[in-house]
């Protein structure tokens, strides 16, 4: 049984111009100890889908789903109080901006022990040793003295480490990292990603990595979900997806990367992501798709083998170099 199972998740926002569908029937299942990446451009609904799972969306949002099950419990039928017992304990989430997700008025130690008191009860002071242990686990030097530091006294990378320490404090089964390294420098990004994967292995967590950076996905994830304007266009194992994308959008996105360019110009995708008022009829990617046919402009495609497209790209039957590597590895 998968750890997390989401079937047909849809999120609508009430706006001044009528309702806007930010996430459109997403299916996702995550096994224990699995690293899944959710990739998409801004406005693709990748954060909204996970915030819906956490119950962190504002009141203007309407969440509907056929099923959201986590670890055998039905999250949909729960009231807020029951949900809060799971959120932050068994499922926790790291946000993009480490500097703004920590409260500037309280010390690191206060904020770390607060999580533990909330979920396990007891006095704050009794958790000081555990807090030091957590800070050491995420690689913060001189952890005892850092307990009394305020967030502004730490750098961005250090704040993100504190956030991670806070989120793994209750030993969650599922950690959702929403663009955990976007605000950080490359060398710090490498440190944080390595830390996340290490913690995932040591603590037997499942990790959901939300990102827009295909290269980060290629280096960390086992399975990839590609979103475009709220649609889940493709879901495949990472190695297959990078060697053999089957949705035209995934292929175009990979080809747009500078390292895949042939010649001086990049293979840009023409046009922009459709907004609320200019949604096309039929397949949502059809105005930008280079393989578009009449059917795509008329009819919404059905998902087949994880690919949401009328004419999925052919599988390249020759095993590519990377998948051969995988065979020898295992």
């Amino acid at each position: 049984m998968p750890l997390l199972e989401i079937v047909n998740l849809t999120v609508d926002f009430a706006t001044a111009n009528g309702s806007f569908r930010a996430v459109d029937s997403i299916d996702l299942s995550i096994d224990e100890r699995e690293i899944v990446a959710i990739v998409g451009e801004s406005g693709s609904g990748k954060s909204v889908a996970m915030l819906a799972l956490m119950g962190l969306l504002p009141w203007t949002a309407t969440v509907s789903a056929d099923c959201i099950r986590f670890d055998g419990q039905d999250l949909l039928g729960m009231n807020d109080k029951q949900r809060r017992k799971i959120i932050g304990k068994d499922i926790s989430m790291i946000f993009q901006e480490p500097m703004t997700s920590l409260n500037p008025c309280f010390t690191i130690g206060y904020q770390l022990t607060e999580v533990l008191c909330q979920h396990f009860g007891g006095r704050r002071r009794s958790y000081n040793n555990r807090a030091v242990e957590l800070l050491q686990q995420v690689g913060i030097p001189a952890a005892e003295t850092r307990l009394n530091a305020y967030p502004h006294q730490l750098s961005g990378g250090m704040c993100q480490r504190v956030m991670i320490a806070m989120m793994i404090a209750c030993q969650p089964k599922l950690l959702i990292a929403d663009e955990p390294t976007t605000a950080l420098d490359v060398t710090i990004q490498a440190q944080i990603l390595e830390l996340l994967v290490e913690l995932q292995q040591n603590n037997n967590m499942a990790l959901v990595l939300i990102t827009h950076d295909m290269a980060v996905v290629a280096e960390t994830a086992e399975r990839v979900v590609v979103l475009y304007a709220g649609w889940q266009v493709e879901q495949r194992s990472a190695l297959d997806l990078f060697s053999n994308p089957r949705h035209p959008y995934t292929e175009a996105l990979l080809n747009a990367l500078p390292e895949r360019a042939q010649g001086k110009l990049l293979n840009a995708i023409p046009g922009v992501v459709p907004g609320q008022l200019d949604r096309p009829k039929g397949c949502i990617f059809n105005p930008r798709c280079c393989y578009v046919q009449d059917l795509c402009r008329q009819q919404i495609p059905e998902r087949q083998e994880g690919v949401l497209c009328h004419y999925p790209l052919e599988l390249d039957l020759k095993p590519s170099r990377s998948s051969q590597d995988m065979v020898t590895d295992s």
């Binding site: 451009e41 801004s42 750098s155 990378g157 250090m158 420098d185 490359v186 060398t187 710090i188 990004q189 490498a190 440190q191 990603l193 390595e194 827009h212 950076d213 295909m214 290269a215 980060v216 290629a218 280096e219 990078f242 175009a252 996105l253 990979l254 747009a256 990367l257 500078p258 390292e259 895949r260 360019a261 001086k264 110009l265 990049l266 293979n267 840009a268 995708i269 023409p270 922009v272 992501v273 990377s322 590597d325 590895d329």
Partner: protein, 332 residues
């Protein structure tokens, strides 16, 4: 012989930082000794992590701030010798800048037409219809349509706004464009469009670009030469081909190794940098990279290295000079 458009020699920029009432102010060396030549039609990429002084360099080149010491000449005119206001005004037209955040760099109360015409109003004596004509020409050059002239910035997407910012920078026909992280706020698919536009414009107008970025995959695509900076100091300066195929400085090697790539084996060996960049107010003695460098020895702790030529790149490193890295490489 072709003259470089921008010639920088040992540029320094120091900022005084107040540490408290009645305490002496400290000196923050944001930029310490940067030298390069930039020719027409060429792109110099400046790479480094936040706090390495790359934006300070951009501000010096755009003449927003004056260097504390060192020489900077643009199009053959030495800025340190120019005090005449009219001359400096003429020079300013030659260097224009595109900023990182396309949402912050356009005035939300001005229409696109007004934003594009403003540089012309200030710097030229053109009348209204000529200005409009020029603005429309520039809009078609960057791929905007005529009906966009009357619209406000909020009606555009990030990519289109960056096109507007590029059009505004180019309307005075500059020779040098300083691009301060022009695509890092954009999505991958839009990023490719804007980079293509920049490359096409460079070929068409033979512009010189100073391309400031932290994204090495973009730099690898667009640059001719790359300058890697760390804590205000240049550490390596070489052509793109040499830098990416055979990086010399330990920091450049770590930076390249830390950059995630789509086409890599999972189990490739990364060079892991420990710790973070030290504060520029109180930099380490000797080579500023020494606390994070795996090759550091006594010389690195005491004396700052100077830029010297090794294997076609100019590098500031003691380990290279003493052949502590090079030999190891030969052995492999």
């Amino acid at each position: 012989m072709i003259q470089p458009i921008v010639k920088a020699r040992d540029l320094q920029k120091h900022y005084p930082v107040k540490s408290g009432f009645l305490k002496p102010s400290q000196n923050l060396r944001a930029l310490a000794g940067v030298s390069f030549d930039l020719y027409a039609g060429q792109t110099l990429a400046v790479v480094g992590e936040s706090g390495c002084g790359k934006s300070t360099l951009a501000r010096l080149l755009a003449m927003i701030e004056e260097p504390t010491s060192g020489r900077l000449s643009i199009d053959g005119v030495d800025l340190t010798e120019v005090n005449n206001k009219s001359l400096s005004k003429g020079l300013r037209q030659k260097v224009q800048m595109v900023f990182q955040d396309p949402f912050g760099s356009l005035n939300p109360r001005h229409k696109i037409g007004d934003i594009l015409q403003e540089p012309l109003v200030i710097n030229t004596g053109l009348n209204a219809s000529e200005r409009r004509q020029k603005a429309l020409e520039m809009m078609s050059l960057v791929g905007l349509r005529e009906e966009h002239f009357q619209r406000y910035p909020h009606m555009f997407s990030g990519g289109q706004r960056q096109r507007i910012a590029i059009a505004r920078a180019l309307i005075l026909k500059p020779k040098v464009v300083v691009l301060d992280e022009p695509v890092s706020a954009l999505d991958v698919s839009i990023q490719a469009q804007v980079i293509n536009l920049l490359i096409e414009l460079q070929q068409e107008l033979s512009l010189a670009y100073v391309f400031i970025s932290h994204d090495l995959s973009v730099v690898r695509h667009i640059a001719d030469e790359v300058l890697v900076m760390y804590l205000g100091r240049p550490v390596e300066h070489s052509s793109k081909e040499v830098l990416f195929s055979n990086p010399q400085h330990p920091y450049t090697q770590a930076l390249l190794s830390a950059t995630p790539q789509v086409a890599t084996q999972r189990d490739r060996q990364r060079i892991k940098l420990k710790g973070e960049m030290p504060s520029p107010i109180d930099p380490p003695s000797g080579c500023v990279f020494n606390p994070r460098c795996q090759y550091a020895n006594q010389d690195c702790l005491t004396t700052p290295p100077v830029m010297e030529l090794y294997n076609e790149s100019r590098v500031a490193c003691w380990a290279l000079k003493q052949r502590r890295i090079g030999d190891e490489k030969l052995a492999n």
